[in-house]
Symmetry: C2
Subunit: 760 residues, 2 copies
Amino acid sequence: MVNAGNMNGSGNLMDFLDEPFPDVGTYEDFHTIDWLREKSRDTDRHRKITNKSKESIWEFIKSLLDAWSGWVVMLLIGLLAGTLAGVIDLAVDWMTDLKEGVCLSAFWYSHEQCCWTSNETTFEDRDKCPQWQKWSELLVNQSEGASAYILNYFLYILWALLFAFLAVSLVRVFAPYACGSGIPEIKTILSGFIIRGYLGKWTLLIKTVTLVLVVSSGLSLGKEGPLVHVACCCGNFFSSLFSKYSKNEGKRREVLSAAAAAGVSVAFGAPIGGVLFSLEEVSYYFPLKTLWRSFFAALVAAFTLRSINPFGNSRLVLFYVEYHTPWYMAELFPFILLGVFGGLWGTLFIRCNIAWCRRRKTTRLGKYPVLEVIAVTAITAIIAYPNPYTRRSTSELISELFNDCGALESSQLCDYINDPNMTRPVDDIPDRPAGIGVYMAMWQLALALVFKIIITIFTFGMKIPSGLFIPSMAVGAIAGRIVGIGVEQLAYHHHDWIIFRNWCRPGADCVTPGLYAMVGAAACLGGVTRMTVSLVVIMFELTGGLEYIVPLMAAAVTSKWVADAFGKEGIYEAHIHLNGYPFLDVKDEFTHRTLATDVMRPRRGEAPLSVLTQDSMTVEDVETLIKETDYNGFPVVVSKDSERLIGFAQRRELILAIKNARQRQDGVVSNSIVYFTEEPPELPANSPHPLKLRRILNLSPFTVTDHTPMETVVDIFRKLGLRQCLVTRSGRLLGIITKKDVLRHMAQMANQDPESIMFN
Amino acid sequence: MVNAGNMNGSGNLMDFLDEPFPDVGTYEDFHTIDWLREKSRDTDRHRKITNKSKESIWEFIKSLLDAWSGWVVMLLIGLLAGTLAGVIDLAVDWMTDLKEGVCLSAFWYSHEQCCWTSNETTFEDRDKCPQWQKWSELLVNQSEGASAYILNYFLYILWALLFAFLAVSLVRVFAPYACGSGIPEIKTILSGFIIRGYLGKWTLLIKTVTLVLVVSSGLSLGKEGPLVHVACCCGNFFSSLFSKYSKNEGKRREVLSAAAAAGVSVAFGAPIGGVLFSLEEVSYYFPLKTLWRSFFAALVAAFTLRSINPFGNSRLVLFYVEYHTPWYMAELFPFILLGVFGGLWGTLFIRCNIAWCRRRKTTRLGKYPVLEVIAVTAITAIIAYPNPYTRRSTSELISELFNDCGALESSQLCDYINDPNMTRPVDDIPDRPAGIGVYMAMWQLALALVFKIIITIFTFGMKIPSGLFIPSMAVGAIAGRIVGIGVEQLAYHHHDWIIFRNWCRPGADCVTPGLYAMVGAAACLGGVTRMTVSLVVIMFELTGGLEYIVPLMAAAVTSKWVADAFGKEGIYEAHIHLNGYPFLDVKDEFTHRTLATDVMRPRRGEAPLSVLTQDSMTVEDVETLIKETDYNGFPVVVSKDSERLIGFAQRRELILAIKNARQRQDGVVSNSIVYFTEEPPELPANSPHPLKLRRILNLSPFTVTDHTPMETVVDIFRKLGLRQCLVTRSGRLLGIITKKDVLRHMAQMANQDPESIMFN
């Protein structure tokens, strides 16, 4: 019953060699892996270890270690990703404050840390401790006045430029792959594409350092997307330590999926949201075992981050919020409006950003990346400084916008006119008329909104690490807070209107502007990325209550629908297309009525398919064929006349096998017949020794008939992760369809230029 | 470019008929669907609607309605599932209390509701209001004393027997499919199997009613598993209202996956956990679109349930818990011990339960299901009544065990000796020595544990609706609480031991026995069902804090590992195997080195494969072949000599096509040649009119070569959802592999009797 032959693994050249060649079974750069083959190879490996484990105790222990290595890798990824996230948070905190001043007691303290150790314990003075000095105080001993302001302004811009220049130079010199958010590339890699060095150690190091620099420089970008890239680099690093993962590109991708989950987990402090993000947005092949391990990695990462405690509040989450009021049905209307805004913002952003990035790629603009970064940083710093809402770091801004106004709040946004008769407990403050501070804040926020919208379009895609989550959320949070305050004041001043009468009596706390900010943030993030479940779950983990899930869902759904109406692609898919990565999206539905015969090569009028015959070509014939074509492999047929398919041989393995045979096997010359059958063909006397290559022949190539609808072919390519597929009609080989043919055909059907989308 | 022929849809018999036959495209009972074909049919349908929508505004509106119908179905499922769950909860509450007494002011009030309206407002007296009368008070006017006790005992048993008898009779007479938890069958159905009536309206009605009866009867079973079945019945009902879902078995299964999520969502009040449960445990084909819709259905269901508010506390979750103390590293040791216990319990339960169910199937025992239910109910009631922890409903028991002891707690479990000098706030109570009540409770809990373990084995699998979640959790919660109290007392009396010294000073609140109960419940549930992520997420949604996720994960992982060491199957897989459903588990890894040629039919020595030829068989030949075999379809080859495959014809469609042609098409007689080619074959003069059947020919049958490793074949069957696959060698048809062949082979490789596992 058990057949001795094994057609799949590497190292099957035992016909004429003792050891396998070192390179068999690996892939070249910018090529696509064959998932079925990788899976098969892993099963072989597993089988070997299981068989061996019965031989001795030592082998048994080794097999146990092998079985556990997956969990060890997850633990290590979680620990390192959590640590790096903590270090990045601390460094960003310190360097952001460095733009404004320095701590005298210890220069490595951020503003907040500096004043923790101070003796001023009253709440108002915590921000103004003597140890913390603004640059103007330190340099010219002035803390107020126009000249101090200008000096501080100037130094702020200078620091920002210095950070940005350092970042872009480091990226250019050491690790060009460290730029961008990395998520489009990670999606492509997880779908089976090889980009060597993209997840390398240098990228990890440079991306971590430059991420700190660019976030501190005050540019309109976030660290969340790049953190996913950083976590994936950690995953790649640790998987290279275990041969189980380093030697199998399929298994390695399972680890990377889990690492992506750990990345989001530390970015937001949302482990479940991270796992769902990896499942929904990033991953391609996500077996259940990976789900469980991702969850483990995400949790370890989250707890590592918490024990580092970079926010100093023992909280796991980036924006901790606690609201005291429920929401009311009538509020769904503004929430849905925010959803529409989010969808429109998503569409606008994607269109403008892609247009700008295309211009950068095709014009001279792309040749001066350093200059571009310097210019954008300068503009950002110059415009951002005068406005208190853009001067501070974006995550602080979001945090403030999400907050509900408590009684002790000193923020300008909470400058309401208090009722002197108020005797309520602290967390149940009724709606109040807005004070002058709130109106001021509204104007400043409106300016900040316009500024953020415009500058983010130009920032995302420069040659520095840049994430989109935080700027998108900031845009939404600003819009949401403005709408929220508007609704609140409307309800306060017109509580006799029908819509307010039922739920907003005078003296009641009926509108929470912070909730509007949160809903707006979710809507804008959803419009840009088209995340759905993971978005809502991340937001749910931030608030920690099911109460607010309905507003969040309403906004997320509306935003997705509005944005989808203008174009199905999220920002990551748009960038994948822009860069021409061969990515077969699981979400795209192929609904055209074409057949395999319309897509396969060769087309009518083209040269016939290059094939090998099973026992009639010489070594020289094969070498000529290899030299004249650049295909990745060749179908093997019985004879050129019958064209009945017997298997498929990889180009790479053919080259290696012939090279090795010529070097080491006696009697193999250019005239030797190459045969793929079990038995050598009958040759005339005096003919040179034939060369048997059956072991590199894949005897189970994937075939479809020429009448197979392309939607089925696309489905097969997606689900089985094929590289190519042979097309037959009544048993005769007609042609071949590769993954690139499929992508090209899909682009053609969608009226895109097929050549523009290929990897370049 | 676009080819006119369409080889996949139904309704393609236009060659000789105007309208399609009514039955084409449907499947027979106990057959497996072809996922690829269903998907293709849906794409066709979608394409038609899109094309039509450009014709008129009415068609455009219809296309919009069609696109929205998915969301409408989800909304309806959520509403109905939530309502049913609420009604079941209320009815169970009332009927459970009916066993003990009745409310005089309104007999339809449960004990709790009865005393809400009472004037006694002090906390202690809430349970003893005058309107609520025990049966003994009502009938013989005695509330205390031996005779009252015996009367109450007797009536308790009588009510239980009545409920159980009613339930089993209803199930037997009206809906035999309503028994069991339903999850094994739903898993099988979602994997593509057809069991007509399993999700029908009668099953829905009877299962809802009998579920109330059996839970109220006090049997050791829960309502959570059956609620998933009930929700799936709702899903099936609503999908039959929309032709998009009712006519496509693949699309229908997407709705059912979402309905399963809604079921768990209302069972535990855990919408995210429900979605993950559906994803991890139940579903087979789970595209991302379904993820989002499942989430929507789960949320609607949860909010519907909350607005019904059956627990009277505005809480969404079944067991709401709030702990005030963190856990300490050293506590991981008892948590892991609980994990081991959970794994052992899982193994024990699965082994014993399967052995008992097998005995029931094979011996005379199975012939008296009513008697069996009556006997088990009688035993349960007789043993349960004297012990206060088994007398109350299991979910109340779990709720009490999970609870942290507050200052106002009147439960026996919280009978600690108070320090009279205590001046702490209410929620921060230090560890105290246990009082006599706690020791009593420990004994009673130990007895309850033994009783629950034994009786659950015999209860699960009887001919009544029965869920496993609650009894499993009860076993774990009891064990956990006992361990928790043990650790607490150990820490109190020996706080100078090294392990306690660091975290458990006198006067500190260091051990929370309720947390141990929760960890134990998770471990036992994990051991039985082998859920991982969804289990932890459900528990996380119960507690609402990430704090306790590490203990839960540690216990869940340990429990799964321990249980897996004794056997990989969870209880649902075990029952699927027991019943012989053709279920190809995604989690099973096939690692044997067999090839397609070892599995395909015909085997060596068997009669050759039954095939049709493309243009040389008469109608009579085909009819004879159909009569003599019972295969579901036949490959069509060029000729018997060349055996080159051109397509595959379904038995069902062949029969229908020939029957219709004989009735309606002139000149078709037994001697007519049947042809599958485009052009009719050249026939001698005078031969009868030939019959063209190309339109029922599937021109893209799935093929693999004979050398394909079986692991690849299994993978293809799983991922593409095939029914059968043809085996070729160099273009020649060799044999066929069906899904059952694959399952039989897998059983053989696992050393099981292959015939025992087939559906019977």
